[in-house]
Symmetry: C2
Subunit: 152 residues, 2 copies
Amino acid sequence: MKKSILAAGVALALGAGVASTAFAQVKPEILVKQRQAVMTLQGKYLGPIGAMLKGAAPYNADVVALNATFLENLARMPWDGFQASTEGVKSAAKPEIYKNMAKFKADADALEAATVKLGAAARARDEAGVKAAFGGVAKACGSCHDDFRVKQ
Amino acid sequence: MKKSILAAGVALALGAGVASTAFAQVKPEILVKQRQAVMTLQGKYLGPIGAMLKGAAPYNADVVALNATFLENLARMPWDGFQASTEGVKSAAKPEIYKNMAKFKADADALEAATVKLGAAARARDEAGVKAAFGGVAKACGSCHDDFRVKQ
């Protein structure tokens, strides 16, 4: 009934990775800039939810729903920027990514799935569900960063 | 019937601007980085649609639908980063923004509306509609950049 447009976008995202990069004679420096831009925005929209969940800010279900919807979209954006051509560009991405693409892809999928849960709970104004799903998102971030990001 | 989750996000976005910045003891440098990240990603997802529409790449309706959905979300993300506190941070944003917030807000609204049309046409796999809506998006970008961005 409420088949969402966003869900359509999500379904596409899973299959469209190759197609998206088909145009891509994109310079490695641009690919890195684009994927870092996604990480920056993930931080922007995760931060306030985290602050609300730990009581540092009043819980605002509308803001959580909006941020979670943005995160659900953002979680699909970085991956086509991780191409072997970018290995020479300075960034926090470890070369292990390109040696273990299966694990990296699994981590990416885990984040996407976790943000789908977060988005659904947030739009349902289900605060307990948001709390649970947020933990899943944080875990997915951490798992990938542990293996594939240079310690900050 | 098909009330979309994305549309819900959009409706919220129009009202949530103030709430979003309520948490924001965000440093001006971070605000600039975040809004520039949005612009970077708008370029990422506009570029391939533009290339397809001018025949430089084969038209792929699935990629267009995905990119347009991302753009519909991204178009809502930059505005809360334009705060007077950022005037001292080096960027291409002109100080005119903060002297003419009504015009800037109207330009922001125009981009949001144009990307809603683009997203709808793209998800309907309506290539002619995409072409028309893309023109509207490009016009909205240009109008705002003409007045409020330092010439590149």
